[in-house]
């Protein structure tokens, strides 16, 4: 996976690698703290936020 950039995790401030083909709303895991993060903006700057917590009826 080609790394586009590394940006700050909003939970632990560690570095999160983001690939060049990242999509809006894509879910990523922080390699440092394990938080699930969601891409909330692609431009003008890439932004991450903590993804919603799992709910009772979530799953397969």
């Amino acid at each position: 996976m080609p790394v586009l950039t590394t940006i700050e995790c909003p939970v632990c401030w560690g570095g999160v690698n983001v690939s060049a083909d990242v999509m809006l709303s894509e879910l990523l895991d922080c390699g440092d703290c394990g938080a699930e993060l969601e891409v909330t903006a692609l431009s003008p700057a890439l932004q991450l936020a903590e993804a919603p917590m799992s709910a009772e009826d979530w799953g397969e």
């Binding site: 709303s25 879910l27 891409v39 009826d57 979530w58 799953g59």
Partner: protein, 304 residues
């Protein structure tokens, strides 16, 4: 193209297909890539932004001939499937499959009705009747929420004392999640089970899930390895899929001394760990299925 609704795209063009999801997981990204490889654009929509009156096409959802429902929420998928179908479009999976797979009691009943080998299961509606329901299954047993996934709130109960505690807690907690107690036979599988993938009536792949815990959900850390799809595994997997209404589903099975037994059927299957493990292009086969179904629907509407 179904009906004369806002769901329609032009009958002579490629079908317009939308993917609904709650954030883009690896599965959704693989699907987008699979459709792109087939020169079909897959539009995406976030379920959190969909709303609107029920007598119109959902706002926040691009018009479509077919909608792939992969929201994380079972209820949202079920509601969206009904809504989309009422507006003349194809839901994948369809509302019947989603509703059946999302409800463990409904799944079990369908498997029994269709003669598909499955685990002994029982239900009860009170702590008192729960003890009798357990006797029908035998110890050890597994208690599961009727609606739930990823191994959440699933408990192994080894004896009547432990059962009593769980039933009393469920009664005290109350509310919809505890209104029905679903009990299922425990299979001493050594922390292993099989997950097979069925798309449009064909068992396309299977993995073995292995865990140090008795729960084998990959969401809980189980690892996946490839497994050959023998004729009996294929037959039972397809039978289970047909029992819940077809579509694209993942079937969880145990291997027992008397053969394969179906545990659950998943209507919004996850496959991120299964493509490289099996070498099977699962998202590609799902894309082919959806394009085929949407195109057939377009032709039918065009003729009629």
């Amino acid at each position: 193209m179904a009906g004369s609704t806002e769901a329609q795209a032009t009958a002579t063009t490629a079908p317009r297909i939308v993917l609904v999801c709650t954030g883009v997981r690896p599965e959704e990204k693989m699907l987008v890539e699979a459709f792109a490889a087939r020169s079909v654009e897959l539009f995406t929509a976030d379920d959190r932004r969909i709303h609107g009156p029920l007598d119109a096409w959902p706002e926040g959802l691009p018009s479509a001939d077919a909608v792939i429902l992969r929201a994380k929420s079972h209820w949202r998928n079920a509601v969206l499937a009904r809504w989309i179908e009422s507006r003349g479009a194809l839901a994948v999976n369809n509302s019947g499959v989603i509703e059946t797979c999302g409800d463990k009691v409904a799944t079990t009943l369908r498997l029994i009705e269709h003669g598909v080998s499955t685990l002994r299961s029982s239900v009860s509606f009170s702590a008192e009747s729960g003890r009798a329901a357990a006797d029908a299954v035998g110890f050890p047993l597994v208690v599961k929420p009727v609606v739930g996934s990823w191994g959440r709130l699933i408990g192994k109960i080894s004896d009547p004392d432990a059962l009593e505690t769980v039933l009393e807690h469920k009664e005290a907690l109350g509310g919809a999640p505890h209104a029905v107690t679903y009990l299922q036979e425990f299979v001493a599988s050594g922390g292993q089970d099989i997950r097979s993938f069925v798309v449009d009536g064909v068992c396309i792949a299977a993995i073995r899930r292995s865990s140090t815990h008795w729960r084998t959900n990959t969401a809980l850390g189980a690892t996946a390895s490839a497994v050959d799809v023998d004729s009996e595994l294929a037959r039972l997997s397809v039978a289970a899929a047909q029992a819940v209404g077809g579509g694209a589903v993942a079937v969880d099975l145990f291997e027992t001394d008397s053969g394969y037994v179906v545990n659950e059927v998943n209507g919004a299957m996850e496959f991120r760990n299964s493509v490289s493990t099996t070498g099977v292009d699962i998202p590609g086969l799902v894309a082919d299925y959806v394009i085929r179904e949407a195109t057939a629907r377009q032709r039918l509407a065009h003729v009629s």
